[in-house]
């Protein structure tokens, strides 16, 4: 089976051609090695980093967050449900873990709140 993909690893957006046969996956059109890994991953186990924001308990708006590593694409909405219902309390530093162990990752702060 042949598939065409756009690599999402960097803004260059290489057009990948992926050829899947039995247990071998060939990727072409990639500008770098990461594109090959992306092409294979996208056909076997697609992963995404999720970014969102978490409500602050003192009513002072939101703090931006991301998953500590890419998660399974199929788990994106489950992670979003957890993030949407969570709260965080200042002070917060970039990298602080705000929610532990959701679908195999942590939710960490990407912004600072004094």
């Amino acid at each position: 089976m042949k598939k065409e993909l756009i690599c999402i690893i960097c803004p260059r957006g290489c057009r990948l051609a992926v050829d899947i046969s039995n247990d071998n996956i060939e990727v072409s059109g990639n500008g770098c090695k990461r594109g090959k890994d992306y092409g294979i991953g996208e056909c076997t186990n697609p992963m995404r980093t999720v970014t969102s924001s978490v409500r602050l308990t003192d009513g002072k708006g939101m703090v931006s967050v991301k998953t500590s590593k890419p998660i399974k694409k199929a788990d994106v909405f489950e992670v979003m449900d957890v993030i949407r219902n969570a709260n965080a309390t200042a002070p917060i530093k970039i990298g602080d873990i705000l929610i532990e162990n959701v679908c195999g990752c942590d939710i960490i702060a990407t912004g600072e709140v004094d």
């Binding site: 993909l5 756009i6 690599c7 999402i8 690893i9 960097c10 803004p11 957006g13 057009r15 995404r48 980093t49 999720v50 970014t51 969102s52 924001s53 409500r55 708006g61 939101m62 931006s64 967050v65 991301k66 694409k73 994106v76 909405f77 979003m80 949407r84 970039i94 990407t110 912004g111 600072e112």
Partner: protein
């Protein structure tokens, strides 16, 4: 009157990088004037990732990228005025600003304009129909959702497929809204291919190319929009209208460099970019006033904003410190076949560095050769497998070729 060697207007990614770059080159007193509460500019609300791959070698979110530069500013002895709005800039480099304490006048040796850009509004589009609530520019919706934490609607149509529109399609979907369609009046998207993949295709959001919104319905709140296919001259085609029920319309229809200060000061503006006319030092037609970032040209990657701002900061420093400032032989650049604009507009042939030309193609191309020519010889040639207006291109010309080039140089693309 307060005195600073350098005043940087705007504390976003361009302003912060420019200020640090000038400071590191020996400018003693540097001030950044920022109208918002904190440094960081638009990056503060761009909570998605994909920033910094070129410049910092790692993939960051907008707030993280901003934090990197905020830290750099704080580590240096740079004065920051937040919640301060610049009202005017004069040719003799006096900056007039105001904040809660009143009017502030700063005399300076050089100024860097790094005010960024703003969104084109609905008024500029002339869409027929009613004027209910539920119509937002995409960036405003981004701020309301990401920064204030409110939902903007449950069912949305997005007009315009620039990157902000695409990012917001995903963001609203993740927050539980249904994005019914993204309409793009052009036959191609203005956004990055990767964003079409990860923001639309990942969530099966349809992208209708050569389509626009022709009517907005609803009295108090948006109830729906009528979309229509458009012909080659972007005129709606009768009979192709379709009603889509929605409570929200997001507009992602272009960014306009913010240059009221520059215009009022008498700085020449390029009608195509909306930014100042500059030389390879990012210097405007007024000696000692520089421009960079989205105020100079709308970028798609912040990494290149930081690069450009460092150039502006470096040459502002050289201007202030009286290094290398006589321009004796100047080249002019022109957008040739298949090119919409090129920056810088002028090149000082006596500078010691290679010169990078930044430009956008006028329509999507397959394989092309990008040629920089002075009319007699090719100064640089690059092959690209594909290119599109949504992706800024750059070509570097070697310094020895700049030195020997004739006065007018043109960049053009040839289909292969």
């Amino acid at each position: 009157m307060v005195k600073f060697d350098l005043v940087v207007i705007g504390g976003g990614p361009a302003g912060m990088a420019a200020a640090c770059s000038a400071y590191d080159r020996g400018v003693g007193s540097v001030a950044i004037i920022e109208r918002e509460e904190n440094l960081g500019g638009i990056l503060k609300q761009c909570i998605h990732n994909g920033f910094g791959l070129h410049k910092l070698g790692e993939e960051l979110t907008g707030p993280e990228y901003a934090a990197h530069y905020v830290k750099m500013v704080k580590e240096r002895n740079i004065t920051v005025f937040c919640e301060t709005m610049v009202m005017s800039v004069s040719k003799d480099k006096i900056v007039t600003a105001q904040n809660r304490n009143g009017i502030l006048q700063i005399s300076s040796k050089a100024i860097i304009i790094a005010c960024g850009c703003r969104e084109r509004s609905k008024g500029a589009l002339n869409i027929a129909g009613t004027r209910p609530s539920g119509i937002y520019s995409a960036g405003t919706a981004q701020k309301i959702i990401n920064h204030f934490g409110y939902s903007v609607g449950k069912k949305a149509v997005i007009l315009g497929s620039g990157d902000i529109g695409l990012i917001m399609a995903r963001r609203m979907t993740l927050e539980g809204a249904k994005v019914e369609a993204v309409c793009e009046v052009m036959p191609y998207s203005g956004g990055l291919q990767r964003n079409i993949q990860q923001c639309l295709n990942d969530f099966q959001i349809p992208l209708y190319l050569s389509h626009t919104v022709v009517e907005i319905h609803g009295k108090d709140r948006v109830e729906g929009v009528t979309i229509s296919e458009v012909d080659e001259s972007r005129k709606p085609i009768a009979g192709t209208e379709r009603y889509i029920e929605c409570d929200t319309l997001l507009l992602s229809v272009g960014l306009i460099p913010e240059n009221e200060l520059a215009r009022a000061c008498g700085i020449d503006i390029d009608p195509v970019t909306g930014g100042a006319v500059v030389n390879n030092r990012c210097e405007t037609c007024i000696s000692g006033i520089f421009a960079c970032g989205n105020a100079l040209q709308v970028h798609d990657l912040v990494d290149y904003v930081s690069d450009e701002a460092e150039t502006a900061g470096r040459f502002a420093a050289e201007y202030i410190l009286n290094v290398n400032h006589k321009i004796s032989k100047q080249l002019n650049t022109f957008a040739g076949n298949g090119v919409r604009y090129v920056l810088p507009h002028k090149i000082d042939a006596n500078d010691k560095d290679d010169v990078t030309l930044y430009f956008r193609v006028s329509k999507p191309f397959g394989k092309v050769k990008m040629i920089v020519s002075d009319g007699n010889k090719h100064l640089s040639e690059v092959i690209r497998l594909s290119c599109a207006p949504g992706e800024m291109e750059k070509v570097t010309v070697k310094n020895d070729l700049i030195k020997s080039a004739c006065e007018n140089i043109t960049i053009s693309v040839e289909e292969q």
